[in-house]
Amino acid sequence: MKLEGKAKMLRIYFGEDDKWEDKPLYRAIVEKCRELDLAGATVFRGIEGYGASTLIRRTHHLSFSHDAPVMVSVIDADDKIQKLLPFLDKMVDEGMIAMSEVEVIKYVHQEGARSQ
């Protein structure tokens, strides 16, 4: 897998409790990215935020039911990202998807460097 020069970064914002086919939405998105052979995807959990529905999402330390804001960041060439978009359109029904230009400086992987 090679990735260099101009690329696109997609950031998808939604809630941690959002589901897709009984699975956490963020996991479903990462699996979809792998299926489409995208270069990589990372999920971040926010501490507090609000979004399209303008409800404050907040993580509560003492409660098991939290709906923290979640952001998935995906970087790849424009054509690969375009392939992902129709799926995202279906999967994310409440949230935001933003795309920006990035320049890839380095994308490397060492065979067996992390064998455990």
Binding site: L3, V43, R45, V108
Partner: protein, 244 residues
């Protein structure tokens, strides 16, 4: 700070139960005014009243207490009022907004003297800059030290303006291995992202060092506009004194 002399008084009439984006309108207006540095504002609840729909609201009968009239008032300079009005217009919804000319005879005073920042110019760099994001794994090492820590130290040594480390909860990257944060796992290998902002020259100059340290991962650049980059010298001096 308001000075004595002519000013405008704005009164907004809404219902106690009117909502604006999931919040009571009067509370939303108050916090809007607060964060836009209006010198003062107050909300008052009426005991009875009726609105444009001719619904009588009173607190004498329990059933009708639902939507008592609320009044939000503030006094500001005409320029400030003109600046805030479009948003207030939107927030007030079905409510009424009134503006009166008024005269300030005695301005209110702040209880504590604002700390003087004169003679301590804040460090400020504005304009085009680059945002560098580095995606690595939590278990990546550099000379037996966690890679993200080593990167921060080397950036500090290179006088890079600033760096923040984010920890992801799930992800995969160049090596196709899923990084996951499972509650019952003692050995985590979560995805990490370092976000660095500085001028393009500074970041490019740092790349050889980075290249040597990051054996696997992803490094991307994007354009950003620096809006604010400040540092409170006074506060830093004070902390230094406390520490020594």
């Amino acid at each position: 700070m308001l000075e004595t002399g002519p000013a405008k008084k704005v009164t907004i009439y809404v219902g106690q139960d009117h909502q604006y984006h999931g919040d009571a309108v009067y509370a939303a207006i108050l916090s809007f005014l607060f964060y836009h540095k209006v010198s003062g504002a107050s909300a008052t609840r009426g005991v009875a009243g009726f609105d444009a729909d001719h619904h009588m609201q009173t607190d004498r009968i329990l059933v009708l207490t639902a939507n008592l009239p609320m009044k939000v008032e503030f006094i500001e300079t005409p320029e400030k009022v003109a600046e805030l009005l479009p948003k207030l217009y939107e927030m007030a919804g079905t409510g009424l907004i009134e503006i009166q000319d008024t005269t300030i005879v005695k301005s209110s005073e702040t209880t504590k003297q604002a700390a003087s920042h004169e003679g301590m110019p804040p460090l400020k760099r504005q304009g085009k800059a680059k945002l560098m994001r580095i995606f690595i794994g939590e278990n990546d090492k550099w000379h037996d030290k966690p890679l993200h820590k080593a990167l921060i130290e080397s950036m500090r040594a290179s006088e890079i303006a600033g760096v923040t480390v984010y920890q992801g909860i799930l992800g995969y990257g160049a090596n196709r291995r899923i990084h996951k944060d499972t509650a019952l796992h003692l050995s985590h290998d979560r995805p990490m992202m370092l976000s660095v902002v500085d001028t393009e020259e500074r970041l490019r100059a740092f790349l050889p060092v980075l290249d040597d340290m990051v054996q696997q991962g992803l490094v991307v650049f994007s354009d950003v506009d620096v809006i604010k980059y400040t540092h409170n010298y006074q506060e830093a001096e004070r902390r230094k004194v406390v520490r020594s």
